[in-house]
Amino acid sequence: MAVIEAEQLCKQFRYSTKAKGLQGTLHNLFERQKLTKTAVDRISFSVEEGEAVGLLGPNGAGKTTTLKMLSGILYPTSGTVRVNGFIPWERRPEYQRQFAIVMGQKSQLWPDLPAVDTFELNRRIYRIDPEEYRRTLAELTDLLDVGPLLQVQVRRLSLGERMKMELIAALLHRPAILYLDEPTIGLDILSQRAIRDFLRYYNQQTKTTILLTSHYTADIEAICPRSIIINHGRVVFDGPLAQVSEVFGHKKLISLRSRQDLDPQVLASLGLVREFTSNTALMEVERDQLESCLQQLLGRLPVMDLDVKDIPIEEGIAYFYQRSGEAAQ
């Protein structure tokens, strides 16, 4: 059953430009050139109950704006959205109790108080039964390993610790839908992994529907079996992330290190040389020519180390970003 259904969703912002310098400012005082930016351009998608979907896209693609419309923060310019039967921007309390939003760059915690005080406030706001609240809090603090930090003022926590507290604050009322806007932004590798592991586990255990935006492909790979790539406000890909790299499925990368200096002309005759130093090279070859290429490399060069890889998924994503960018122009 579809929990989220977005149809032709569109959001435009009005803004004005200003020419440089004082002259531009004075001109701006009397006359402003009004422009319209289409942040989300008639996108349609649906998300099933319990599904974890990643929203990918470059900066300004419209991912966060989409999440903000789904959570009722923003009114759309046109289009419709139904989330569990509710229209988000009507901001009905019945709907607001069903979802939570966590934004990597915005906080709901009171900075000068321990996080547990914000949790208590959320308990009262969401009318959570005290016993259930205690149970959920114990479970979440245990899973995220932040028990000893509950009594520490939020401003004294590290970014990773704060993000864990944000997640607890968001999940105390056990929302059916969780919107996550770049929850791992700025975190170190260990904190990123901890958040990812937690979200994957939480999604699997509770069947909470997750919609996640992130610039880190690893976040999406770990948590979301399905990805939607948005660029210039439009959906340019919808499917498993693994399929993204299939656009380059006919190509392979060969990374090699030689005992002696390599001849770039020899390498160029075998495939596309992407990177080259005196004795190392990264080459791109067609999959059906891989076998013969390897035979020639091993036969003609004093190869010390050789590695064959798929084209990284980031390149597939970049391809979609570029392709949609060209289409938009």
Partner: protein, 269 residues
């Protein structure tokens, strides 16, 4: 009815929690907290000086005795003190619009205006103002020789509460303009200046300004009407107008609030 009472109890509980958290936050910065109270005491002394100047002059002005004028000044100090407790939210509003920090508040299942305008309560400024305001009212009431009756006290308190509510609604509207103009410091200062008109009893102003301040921009209703009621100088239609003005300004403020939220563009962090 029971549902409404439950709702009222819930919101009062949340308000109590906001007050507790705000106090806890302010106590975190002890020096700042103490300095805030000290500065406000200084301002209050200045207000007291001109209040007693009126008293010493002992003149009646346009139908108000000096003791009654002292009550008006006391009411102004009291209501300003109470209003100052919620004032940080008003000041924060344009920042929240500019940096998008309003986002999280818009997703909570409680009345958004309640959350946005009452979640941070200040205690440093209101404490001296409320104490001083009440003292001046009591002193002026006694000096004016006004009868201390239940209806007098209830009416006075009710009109003070109406005045506070009117202040909240009236001075929230200019802050809401930040949803349109983002930076509204000029409008903010203008509204401060309008509020300062209440610094002195309305009788000192010419008639046309009094009418303007009662019927168009009802700032004079806020601090003058409670004293006028106790002194039996407020007609029944004017008493009704006090409540009607509060209801009208509230309706207008809600209308602007709803339109403002539709304008919210939520800057990215």
């Amino acid at each position: 009815m029971k549902k409404r009472m439950d709702c009222l109890r819930r919101y009062l509980g949340l308000l109590g929690l906001f007050a507790r958290y705000s106090l806890m936050e302010q106590m975190e910065y002890r020096v700042n907290f103490a300095a805030g109270i000290a500065v406000e005491c200084g301002y209050m002394l200045i207000k007291l000086m001109y209040a007693f100047l009126i008293l010493q002059a002992g003149v009646s002005l346009n139908g108000l005795t000096s003791w009654e004028m002292l009550m008006c000044v006391g009411t102004y100090i009291l209501i300003t003190g109470l209003f100052m407790s919620m004032y940080p939210n008003f000041c924060l509003l344009s920042f929240s619009v500019r940096d998008g920090s309003l986002d999280m508040l818009l997703t909570k299942p409680v009345n958004t205006q309640f959350l946005v305008t009452l979640r941070k309560l200040d205690f440093g400024m209101p404490i001296p103002n409320v104490l001083c305001g009440v003292a001046l009212i009591v002193y002026g009431w006694q000096g004016a020789g006004l009868a201390v009756t239940v209806t007098g006290i209830v009416g006075f308190v009710l009109l003070c509460m109406t005045g506070l509510f009117l202040t909240y609604c009236l001075f929230l509207i200019p802050e809401l303009l930040s949803f349109w103009f983002v930076s509204n410091s000029g409008v903010h200062q203008l509204s401060e200046a309008v509020r300062d008109f209440d610094n002195v009893p309305m009788n000192v102003y010419p008639k046309w300004l009094q009418r303007l301040g009662i019927f168009v921009l009802p700032v004079f209703v806020i601090t003058n009407f409670p004293t006028l009621y106790v002194a039996r100088k407020l007609s029944v239609p004017m008493t009704i107008w006090a409540f009607a003005a509060a209801a009208l300004v509230f309706a207008l403020q809600r209308l602007v609030w709803k339109k403002a939220l539709r304008r919210y563009t939520s800057a990215n962090g």
